[in-house]
Amino acid sequence: MIKLSGKPVYQGIAMGPAAVLRKEDQPVKRIRIADTETEIARLKKAGKEASQQLQKLYEKAKKEVGESSAAIFEVHQMMLEDDDYLDAIHSMICTEMVNAEFAVAMTGDNFAAMFAGMDDDYMKARAADVKDISNRLIRNLSGEKEIDFASMEPSVIVADDLTPSETVQMDKEKILAFVTVHGSANSHTSILARMMNIPALIGVPVNLNEIRSGMTVMVDGFRGEAVFEPSEEIGMAARERIQKEQDKIKLLQELKGKENRTKDGRTINIYANIGSVSDVGYALENDAGGIGLFRSEFLYLGRDDYPSEEEQFQAYRQVVQTMAGKKVIIRTLDIGADKQADYFDLGKEDNPAMGYRAIRICLKEQEIFCTQLRALLRAAVYGNLSVMYPMITSVDEVTKIYEIVERVKEELDTNGIPYKVPEQGIMIETPAAVMISDELAEMVDFFSIGTNDLTQYTLAVDRQNERLDDFYNPHHKAILKMIQMVVDNAHIAGKWAGICGELGADPKLTKRFIDMGIDELSVAPSMILPLREIVREI
């Protein structure tokens, strides 16, 4: 049993098999061995397992994808049986007296290099096959189970760190919890965990070499503990608590359909923050009044080129139609800082948080911006869509944005493409925007306060620096005063103001927010009903 502590990012408790995501370039250890016969026997056993695994994969692939695609697994089996390959491994074990894992790794690399060096593209690609079967043998030798995301059973992801792109590609149904060695409480990955209602721990000093996929791990997001191979006692206690949590969830479900109304009759809109089209389901399940923030950059991440206008249009339209008349606020492209996409070619910056990102990219690379705007205006026909512009710092920026929107409208008119001009608002996430919010309120239809970045810039604390978590005080008077100022300025101009940053979900501040007159809170879907419970108690 291994007990480790970490910082909890979402309170919940889960237990299940670990799925260890090892970064590929973790080298295999070379160990001197005395008994070559045992190593050869281990190798044989691993080889047999590999053959069986490949057989299963072949059959599954044949059923699901067809004979020719499945054929690759047959090839893998044949490679595993190749005399030259096996002889090379055997002889390395016997002459150099090393462990099977190392012999396989070295041999695999050599053969892969041979293929990679050929001038035929097809053959070059076979290098990956050799690496693949070698990795399979190594995994079998170390008793590790393979992660097959598609047919994987619900598991706890254990990794060094996760990029937003990686988490996007995972099948959310199969993830019980996250445990990472790095990561900060306010990093994007943590926000994702909260959004997925998934217990997550960061800063857990896991030795990825000691942990194997398949090991049972209990993740306690209340106490900030991860226990690998828990004892009977701990396991049982965990199961009880998991049951209690599920009961609590059922209770909250009873709040569905009820209004967000205080005892003295004040109401507030509670919307959902989402990051992909498939998340709309979560939002509706949790009875969101609308989508307060649709993070459009997920259309841009985890791929190697720009999404087309058509692709974007389809995505926006789907969300807007599924929400059937409920408001959907889509934020334009917010790439940069911790949300990186290589093909944007943004280059290294010393201060990415204060760098070339979001609306700045859009105003400079107007083609990318126009593509997104066209898709949004076209999608607006299908439902209640609003657009929100991030990282605004000046009246000038808004003026320029409106000029571009006019051009887009003219283009669409010229081409006879149906569209609607949506409600347009801005994110207030810079101190500058707060200070001129009186002027900005005259120009836009609404404000949405991005408390995460606003706090970062106001308190001069880097959101992604783990060491600064103690200095990051989201309840700082400065922030609360700023929020009040923004809300007041919005109301003076007859506009509404909401919060889409993490602070909106803070149950300690809900009453304060209602007292301040905030019109809308947009939060992770899992927080909608808990907040409603609090509002109804006020």
Binding site: A71, I72, E74, V75, M78, M79, E81, D82, D83, D84, Y85, F111, M114, F115, M118, D119, D120, Y122, M123, R126, D129, V130
Partner: protein, 85 residues
């Protein structure tokens, strides 16, 4: 010892799948079967070596068969080439 030449018709050349099947076929026989091209050669029972020859469409390989069952082996291998490559 028997030999024959064969010009590859398959567009992708000797790629993984037929190479694997060639290996299976060659293992049926006692004789040693060698495939050569441009001075390089590989035993037909060794998958990686055969693939390593990088034989492309339109190229001609020389196949040598030597052993007790070389007659049947040669026929079998030649038929294999004609039907699969």
């Amino acid at each position: 010892m028997k030999t024959f030449d064969y010009t590859i018709k398959d567009e992708v050349g000797i790629h993984a799948r037929p190479a694997g099947q060639l290996v299976k076929e060659a293992k049926k026989y006692e004789s040693k079967i060698t495939v050569s091209i441009n001075g390089k050669s590989a035993e037909a029972t060794k998958l990686m070596a055969v693939m390593g020859l990088g034989v492309k469409c339109g190229q001609t390989v020389e196949v040598t068969v030597e052993g007790a069952d070389e007659d049947t082996a040669c026929e079998g291998i030649r038929t294999f080439f004609e039907e699969n490559l």
